[in-house]
Amino acid sequence: MTVPVTYYVILSAVVFLTGMVGVLIRRNIIAILLSVELMLNATNINFVAFSEHLHDLGGQVFVFFALTVAAAEVAVGLAIIIALHRAKDTINVEEFSLLKW
């Protein structure tokens, strides 16, 4: 008995919602980046599930590229966090209002 693809879509939606809420309510920049990772993983689950469902390898290759971009995003994001922490000695997002109007 195989698992229908809608179950995977629902699981992915749950994880994506969790990540979205995390981005919006957390005040720690590292926790926000972790929530972004949650959302990326939710889309990856969708890609792999549909790749299996449609018998097309393109979805898995796309997950591969998404992994590459996630690695690059983490490297740059953490470098920015270190620079921010060096400049203001905090990583609370409410302390950073330079680009707000």
Partner: protein, 171 residues
């Protein structure tokens, strides 16, 4: 049997995803994210994507999460005691998403369960097939991905380097 495995992996993924957002200490958040990555890899194995499962563990659990933990230790953070007070924005974004989620569940219940024939794939052929597709159809995106990694590496070095900004501000 498949549904049993899916239920286990999905349950653990959902719970650890909630823990990532709910736990106050960033180290605990990162560790529960590690558990989630392992279970996502297990989900990939049940979906016959063995190569991606291995890559998921190596890249996410091995590289990305270690980088997170390294930065958390480096910055010596105290725990944040409060959540962000942005409940209006949260409601504005999440209520439409939640409605969409309910529509999704309703549609999946209403739709007749269609039986898809199980795929006949050997366990070792997934990596071979991905390699062939990656180096023929997706060759140009593959090269672009390497360029992205190079740019990210240079950018991370320049952003995190202390001397560049100091030297420029002095001179």
């Amino acid at each position: 049997m498949d549904q049993l495995f899916f239920g286990y992996f999905a349950g653990v993924i959902a719970i650890t995803a909630l823990l990532v957002v709910a736990l106050r200490n960033p180290v605990y958040s990162a560790l529960s994210l590690l558990v989630m990555f392992f279970h996502v890899a297990g989900l990939y194995v049940t979906l016959h994507a063995e190569f991606l499962a291995a890559v998921q563990i190596i890249v996410y659990a091995g590289a990305i999460l270690v980088l997170y933990l390294f930065v958390v230790m480096l910055l010596n953070l105290h725990r944040d005691d409060r959540y962000h007070s942005q409940w209006r924005t949260v409601a504005f974004v999440c209520v439409p998403l939640f409605i969409e989620f309910m529509v999704l569940i309703g549609g999946s219940i209403a739709a007749a369960p269609q039986s898809v024939a199980p795929v006949e794939t050997g366990s070792g052929e997934n990596t071979l097939a991905i390699g062939e597709v990656l180096f023929s159809t997706y060759l140009f995106p593959f090269e672009v991905a390497s360029l992205i990694l190079l740019v990210a590496m240079i950018g991370a070095i320049i952003l995190a380097k202390r001397d560049v900004g100091d030297a420029r501000s002095e001179g």
